[in-house]
């Protein structure tokens, strides 16, 4: 409990299950995800259809695990690209200070003053729908918090004795930044990345639910929930399956994030 071991275990098991299903779906799904079959509409969960079928007779479980793949893809590329951009901005801003810092931070502040969903909605309005737009939109909303964390850590290490002695030894600024300061920001960055992943998944699901994210026929959890809503009385499993998969994934990631925080930051 105290050192976060328990959280780690729970987190790894839950995210492990979801990841395993996502990988499995690349090679094998119980049914074709787009196969519509009038004869097997709204079948309740049974052995042949683990989570039943939807309004068009498509297997919900197959669609949900394929949806995992796309959700993960969006979340990972969002957080990945965001980490790269924020690392550059944060290191630069923290290390250079002065005017550079001022410009970058004012820009970050301006973006930050919009609620996340509004930025995403603006970008979705002016560009076409689809997974690249949603990745861009989420990336822009996450860059401020990531940048801030890296900047704070950079400023903290900039004045440490080991950095000052490196400078006396004549080590170049770039090398100090990349080899000596950047690795020190990882513990903090790591828990931010994990929390960022869970936020990205939630945000992607919300955008897809609104019909502004991944477009059909590609399944995604948010989209499946939207399609399930009108038939929730007759076929609740269609909503429960993707919904519970979101909850399990987020609980898993949050547990890992909490574990990381306890381990490295207290």
């Amino acid at each position: 409990m105290k050192n976060g071991k328990f959280e780690f275990r729970v987190g790894f098991v839950l995210t492990g299950i979801i990841l395993a299903l996502a990988i499995l779906s690349v090679f094998y799904t119980p049914y074709d995800i787009n196969l519509m079959d009038k004869a097997s509409r709204q079948i309740s969960p049974c052995l042949s259809h683990l989570f039943g079928t939807d309004n068009y007779g498509r297997d919900v479980f197959s669609r949900a695990i394929v949806g995992t793949r796309f959700t993960m893809l969006v979340a990972l590329s969002t957080v990945g690209s965001c980490t790269v951009i924020a690392s550059v901005l944060g290191l630069l801003s923290g290390y250079a200070g002065g005017v550079v810092d001022e410009i970058i931070m004012r820009l970050i502040d301006a973006i930050n003053s919009f609620p996340d969903i509004l930025i995403a909605l603006i970008i979705v309005t002016i560009l076409d729908y689809g997974k690249y737009t949603i990745i861009l939109a989420l990336c822009v909303t996450f860059v401020p918090s990531f940048t801030r964390i890296i900047r704070t850590a950079t400023i903290q290490y900039k004045n440490e004795v080991f950095v000052r002695s490196l400078r006396v030894m004549g080590v170049s600024d770039l090398r100090i930044l990349l080899v000596h300061i950047f690795p020190n920001t990882w513990p903090r960055l790591l828990s931010t990345i994990v929390i960022g992943l869970s936020n990205a998944i939630l945000a992607e699901a919300a955008m897809s639910y609104l019909g502004l994210g991944i477009q059909p026929p590609t399944p995604s959890w948010g989209r499946m929930l939207q399609e399930a809503q009108p038939i929730v009385y007759n076929a609740p499993w269609v909503a429960l399956c993707p919904g519970l998969m979101i909850v399990v994934t987020i609980v898993g990631l949050n547990c890992i994030g909490e574990g990381l925080r306890k381990r490295y930051l207290t």
Binding site: A205, G211, L225, Y233, I250
Partner: protein, 315 residues
């Protein structure tokens, strides 16, 4: 006072930046609203006439200035989809969203603060584990999934309310509140979880302070220590969070209004986005962003007023 002036300056600057960024975001992409409205069959002359009528034939800086001066005067432009002034669209929907947000906020505070105290009071017992587990779950459930569950269980199975129906406040106030209760609850639950988590951490942090030891030393009971000494200090730590929670509640209502089809600002915004109604989207985005910036500004001021240590300019 100096602090207040500085904050006001930043507030004005932020609002200006918000309007500027939004305006240019919507004008970076070369698109032709006139063509969009008239469709591909319209003649070039017709399109040109509408361009002049909409004022989009002028340079960008002119358009920005006339848009922002109109905005300040309460003239928000005309929606291309609804073909009516944005101000009218806003006026009928604003009370709905504000009531929904207010209800959600009240629910968050009513549940969050006592639960946070409870979690701190029952630390190192099974209760703490239960509350930790529930907050973890609450943070992890997407609010729109929660609303679908509410519709299914309370709406369709138990018949406590009729999903998809909305009673206007002009018709029946109790019906209005009734139709907003479950939407407000779906927005409130994830935010409550966040509040409980912070509240608990803040309480536990304060419990380790010297003044708590002093209070215990002079014989104060656990109840007195927690509710009189610790709570006041923990609340100060939590006030900045309230600003954030209000922002999240408003963002949450954008999605939840869609789920329950409540005719508020959020539903209007989503329909503006899906129909690519640029003037309407632009105005709504700036409008909502300004509300949220103002709320955060008020939260900052509130901390000043509440906490004498900051008010009197301590270290």
């Amino acid at each position: 006072m100096k602090y207040f002036l500085k904050k006001t300056g930043i507030l004005v600057l932020t609002i200006f930046l918000i309007s500027l960024l939004t305006f240019f975001a919507f004008h970076i992409i070369p698109s032709d609203p006139a063509r969009l409205i008239l469709g591909t069959n319209a003649s070039e002359a017709q399109v040109e006439a509408l361009r002049v009528q909409l004022g989009i034939d002028r340079p960008l800086s002119d358009q920005y200035i006339s848009w922002i001066t109109g905005f300040v005067r309460g003239d928000f432009g005309t929606s291309t989809k609804y073909r009516m002034p944005v101000a009218e669209l806003l006026a009928s929907r604003l009370p709905v969203t504000l009531s929904l947000g207010l209800m959600a906020l009240v629910l968050v505070l009513l549940a969050g603060i006592p639960l946070g105290i409870l979690a701190a009071r029952r630390r190192d017992t099974i209760w703490e584990q239960v509350i930790n587990f529930l907050t973890m779950l609450g943070i992890s459930v997407p609010n729109f999934f929660l609303s679908i569950l509410f519709m299914w269980v309370f709406g369709l199975i138990l018949h406590w309310f009729r999903p998809g129906t909305f009673v206007s406040y002009t018709r029946s106030l109790s019906g209005f509140i009734g139709s907003l209760f479950f939407p407000a609850l779906s927005i409130a639950i994830p935010q409550t979880a966040v509040l409980v988590k912070y509240m608990r951490t803040a309480m536990l942090e304060e419990l380790g302070q010297d003044y708590v030891r002093t209070a215990r030393g002079k014989g104060a009971s656990e109840t007195i220590v927690l509710h009189i000494h610790v709570l006041r200090n923990a609340i100060v730590a939590v006030v900045p969070l309230i600003g954030m929670i209000i922002a999240s509640v408003l963002s949450g209502s954008i999605i939840i209004e869609q789920v329950f089809s409540i005719p508020g600002i959020g539903k209007l915004l989503i329909s503006a986005v899906t129909s690519r109604d640029f003037p309407l989207t632009q105005t709504l985005v700036v409008y909502v962003a300004i509300i949220i910036v103002l709320v955060n500004f008020l939260a900052d001021i509130a901390i000043q007023v509440i906490d004498p240590r900051i008010r009197l300019g301590g270290s």
